[in-house]
């Protein structure tokens, strides 16, 4: 177990600089290819961390169901531009099941929902950004059981986290995709211009995510907690069967 973690971290630490080095050697500055490769490489340790816990079929199926619900929620609100509850649902899954499960749900939901919306060079970036949203939510709130005592405060904190998480983390990660895939020359000015033009979109997206947290976090968390208690799943170190 331990050795595999170390080797995966080492692989990534060696792979990313190697990719960067090759990227600078390629003629014509292939930012697009290099950045996509690096994004895929950063996702590897997250998948390994989940795999390390030897997930049961029912855990995988539960994550698949949550990813499907998230993907459908994105498709259901497709008529309002940039208003998508998908990250909200991913964050709720992360809060209920932990950081690694949240990351996996995010990547799967992004990949699956792009079958409705069209795959593209942005797919790995979306997978990474949505997955990171779920990871962050799980990291911050999965173990915080004390907050449950004050439901109103908990709801307010989650709503605020949904908004801030999108505007400060997930949105800028998605903007990085624009920077690396469309820019021919990387400059700070160009990057700042991209972030600035992405800001209103991120705010709309953040409002959607905050609203999702406000309306759905209680019912969905109740369902997922019930599932966890009833079947004893998603707890590290315990085997349900």
């Amino acid at each position: 177990m331990k050795r595999s973690t170390v080797s995966s971290i080492l692989t990534v630490l060696l792979l990313i600089p190697a990719t960067l080095y090759l990227g600078t050697k390629l003629p014509g500055r292939w930012y697009y290819l290099t950045s996509t490769l690096i994004i895929i490489e950063t996702m590897i340790p997250f998948f390994l961390a989940f795999e390390k816990r030897r997930p049961q079929a029912r855990e995988l199926v539960t994550i698949a169901v949550m990813a499907a619900i998230a993907a459908v929620s994105r498709a259901a609100f497709a008529f309002i531009p940039n208003f998508k509850p998908i990250v909200g649902i991913i964050m709720i899954t992360g809060i209920a099941f932990g950081a690694e499960a949240g990351f996996l749900t995010g990547t799967v939901a992004a990949f699956a929902s792009n079958f409705f919306f069209g795959q593209g060079p942005y797919t790995p970036w979306q997978m990474m950004a949505y997955g990171f949203g779920g990871f962050l939510a799980g990291l911050l709130f999965h173990k915080k059981r004390k907050l449950h005592q004050k439901p109103v405060l908990y709801l307010a904190v989650l709503t605020a986290f949904g908004f801030v998480g999108i505007v400060a983390v997930v949105g800028p990660l998605l903007d990085c995709c624009t920077i690396f895939t469309t820019g021919t020359q990387l400059t700070w000015a160009y990057a700042l211009a991209c972030f600035a033009s992405g800001f209103p979109i991120n705010v709309t997206h953040g409002i959607a995510c905050g609203l999702t947290m406000l309306l759905l976090s209680k019912p969905l968390l109740d369902k997922l907690d019930r599932l966890k208690t009833k079947y004893g799943m998603m707890e590290a170190g315990t085997d349900g069967l």
Binding site: A57, V65, K223, L227, K230, Y231
Partner: protein, 293 residues
């Protein structure tokens, strides 16, 4: 005696090849061959519903071409200027048309794939690669039909107590609909957990478990494989000779059509019509034999 009676691996190779070719070959003759064959085959497989669906796709292709040329202005042949003063070019219009046709053809091929690849074939093909994956797939593929049945049950029961999604005032309906959704999500999550537990207890996902299958690779399958790969070899030659591509930017350009390229068109046509031809000849022979009883 349809194409679904052949070995699942043949279906996989065939559809992967045809869909990849449809996406990659933008030369108009190749595209037209794929489009027409997909049209004919999907109508043969799925009957009147497929005919309606395919006919609806044609105006959508034209709409997409208009939309695309309204946003992209590459090319040298200017047809007109639109109302905000941007150039409408022949090249972007034709490229939009090509993209739309490719998408429509892929949709039609996919409708054939769905009618041929039933869940047992998917599980059979992937169960060889990984037993866990096949367990996972068999649960997930059954999810949508099971959900439909359960949704019908729950909504009927709720209608009986006056809480149906179509009963009451607007807000009542909304809240009833949301309740229905909530019930279904809870049911889906818990039943999935139960199902995967019970399937695991029956030994799914273990290494030594063999899946029941009625597929064997016989001489008929072998001859079809030889046919498919002959056509694919011809297509590979066409790709090497640059016969399958087309340039749209900055001007329309494709390699000239020679007598040899007619051979490639023939090969592609045979490949695309292969399942349709097999089914039709099979049915004709069956009818003929039946007459002679």
């Amino acid at each position: 005696m349809g194409f679904e009676c052949y070995h699942p691996a043949i279906g996989l190779i065939y559809f992967a090849a045809v869909i990849a070719a449809t996406i990659c070959f933008q030369q108009p003759v190749f595209l037209a061959i794929s489009f027409l064959c997909a049209f004919a085959y999907s109508v043969k497989r799925n009957g009147r519903r497929a005919l309606l669906f395919d006919l609806c796709l044609i105006p959508l292709i034209l709409l997409f071409a208009g939309f695309y040329s309204g946003y992209h202005h590459f090319g040298v042949t200017v047809l007109d200027r639109n109302f905000i003063g941007n150039r409408m070019t022949l090249e972007s219009l034709l490229y939009g048309l090509t993209l739309g046709t490719v998408t429509a053809a892929v949709f039609m091929w996919m409708s054939c794939v769905f009618s041929i690849f039933t869940a047992d074939k998917v599980v059979y093909l992937f169960g060889r690669v990984s037993p866990k994956l096949s367990l996972f797939l068999s649960i997930v593929l059954r999810m949508v039909p099971r959900l439909k049945v359960q949704a019908k049950k729950v909504s009927t029961a709720r209608k009986a107590i006056g809480r149906g999604a179509g009963q009451g005032s607007f807000f009542r309906r909304l809240s009833n609909g949301i309740k229905l959704l909530s019930i279904l999500i809870t049911w889906l999550l818990e039943s999935m957990a139960t199902i995967s537990d019970s399937m695991r207890s029956r030994g799914y996902g273990r290494k030594g478990r063999t899946a029941f299958s009625i597929y064997r690779f016989d001489s008929r399958d072998r001859s079809v494989v030889i046919g498919i790969f002959t056509c694919l070899t011809l297509l590979a030659m066409a790709v090497l000779l640059g016969q399958t591509g087309m340039d749209f930017d900055p001007r329309l350009h494709m390699n000239p059509i020679t007598p040899l390229s007619c051979l490639f068109y023939l090969g592609y046509g045979v490949l695309c019509l292969l399942p349709l031809g097999l089914e039709v000849t099979g049915e004709l022979r069956f009818a003929h034999l039946r007459k002679s009883i």
